[in-house]
Symmetry: C3
Subunit: 264 residues, 3 copies
């Protein structure tokens, strides 16, 4: 296991000295470990974006990967740090709910351990950088086969994220944009299956006050500049403009309401 | 070969969940593989920038490296995905011509295979994310020594990029800017040898409507703030300002015309 | 040593073809080497930022790591390239002082070698890209156990960075902001111990013309939107706004004066 995969997800910014310091601490304790950058571009302190990101990416990784997540506005407060096993995935996370959506697919209860055993931390712990001083050395120790039970007591409860749920009605579903990608595509929290239900019935998809007139299967199916709805690669309803940027053209972003309506 | 190098070049943005998903799929199929991020900052859907990038970087890599390129505005359409061997380099690319400039140095015909054998793909293929569902698993399978002939039939033709050519005249060369680097240096499609031809003759280099008064060998040779022409590290005519940003000062970018004129 | 760690720190921009070319050259000479991206987001040609970055990150890495630093406004001039061993760390750097702050903690003189032996370089050296043509092949050769003495003569002197020093007075310390992180936190060159001296005395911390009214231990200790001073994770006085961006709210950045004043 000494060449275990450890992924890093933070809001520090690509090229931040904080990311480099975390890498150095891990590699000093275990030079064999294989680091994979997932993202350092989570919006600063944005737990929801981190939660969407983890749910969208962690399931694709090998099961023995350790995912280190440092999006941690509560650093230095009495918030805990957790070791979590959920649906076969292993994470080190602040106890801020960033793994709530990831856990929702799982039918088994997660295994959660609260990090209290400071002998696995750096000897001096900064009040503002637990990523370097707690997450990194604990991750390295886990990659060296430390039993997670050594890290602290089993936790029976933890914080859950108040993740926005779509509202289901007889004549449709309402939800909101939860992620905007680099192309300006707007990913919502509405299951893509809503578009199947719409197919063949009269009805519509609306984002903010704008009606979307075409549902497609692929971007390429739409003429350039047409606003369309489709199923995202993650299985969600997505609003996009082929060869355009839906986010900037609609002035839409995270939180913009979206609804699918059909003849009940 | 199980620890083969696989490089990734995309327009998804650094830190995109799409990049992370691709990494996860590859590592799940072959945990030994060694991933190298080349760029995820290709301008969205900009096949020309991808083409310049690949021609500028792939030749420096070891010959058995596999280069995975997902700059793919045609995703979900009937465009093909190709496995290409050219000048000893191996690539997985959408059939959009992004490897045209890379292939131009080669005196041997490329070997091109069209990906049709879906048994090497993920079992469900999203219409909007072939990077995760086709490119990634095929790359992992190749790193596990799959014979490329298993991927599909040999292709006899493919799309070529309409890459801008410089125009040669008795009294000079005309071309355009094809890449702007982070320093604002403007790289053109005019071979750097044009500056040698200019040397010792009366003549000039012009970008847009601005005349460049000095040709230098290095940035440092020029006084700060002077607009100069030099030979780029890739061998092209480059327009730069020592300790300044030529792109923003000249309002110049990709497509801006550049010409070298001398006494014929 | 063939699987040695080599880190890369540049100002080329994440996703730059220049970074990719450096990776390719290193991996061609030594495919076993393990590359770690530290940062490619150093501000263009900003030697001071590179110096702060290296001093903040290199000490966390294993001692046999080789750190390649290409922030090199003097490329192509007669500035030297140095191989440096300092405090157990190994670096390849342009001779521009970027390692001055890193060296200050060390009680032993550094070992410095000036790169002159071009047989370890690429056969053709571009005048504008020594990163690819000198740094990269030399780094790869070192990872293959080349004795550094082969690279050139021992250097007895080198350029030192004019790094801003805090000014100590009987009634306080004056300094300035030297780094702004992605959260807008302002890191100064004033040792964090100055806040201990202030504790329990009447006095104040001032940034520009703004007085900071609260000193805290952690971000979370402060109510949102309050401007506070605290000790950074690197041990420096830091000015921050909990859940806010101090840099943009104060219009403060690198060079903004900061002072701590107490009753002498």
């Amino acid at each position: 296991m000494s060449d275990m995969l450890i992924t890093l997800t933070t809001d520090f910014g690509t090229g931040s000295p904080y990311v480099a310091a975390i890498k150095g601490v891990i590699l000093t304790l275990n030079p064999e470990v294989r680091l994979v950058d997932l993202s350092h571009e989570i919006a600063p302190q944005d737990i929801r974006e981190a939660a969407f990101f983890l749910a969208s990416t962690v399931p694709y990784f090998p099961l023995d990967t350790l995912h280190v997540v440092v999006v941690d506005p509560g650093v230095g407060s009495d918030r805990s740090i957790l070791y979590v096993e959920v649906a076969g995935h292993r994470l080190l996370v602040p106890d801020n709910g960033c793994w709530t959506p990831l856990s929702e697919g799982s039918h088994h209860p997660p295994r959660v351990i609260r990090l209290t055993e400071s002998r696995y931390w750096r000897s001096t712990v900064s009040d503002t950088f637990h990523g370097r001083d707690i997450f990194a050395p604990v991750a390295a120790n886990l990659s060296l086969d430390l039993d997670p039970r050594e890290l602290g007591p089993v936790a029976a409860n933890w914080n859950r994220l108040d993740w926005p749920r779509p509202a289901r009605r007889p004549d449709g579903v309402s939800g909101e944009v939860v992620f905007v990608d680099r192309f300006g595509n707007l990913i919502t929290n509405i299951p893509g299956a809503a578009l199947d239900e719409l197919a063949g019935r009269s009805g519509s998809v609306q984002i903010g006050t704008t009606e979307i007139r075409r549902c497609v299967r692929t971007y390429a199916e739409a003429p350039p500049d047409l606003l369309v709805a489709l199923v995202s690669s993650g299985g969600w309803l997505e609003v996009a403009i082929n060869k355009g940027n839906a986010s900037s053209q609609l002035h839409a972003g995270v939180g913009t309401p979206v609804c699918v309506t059909w003849q009940a």
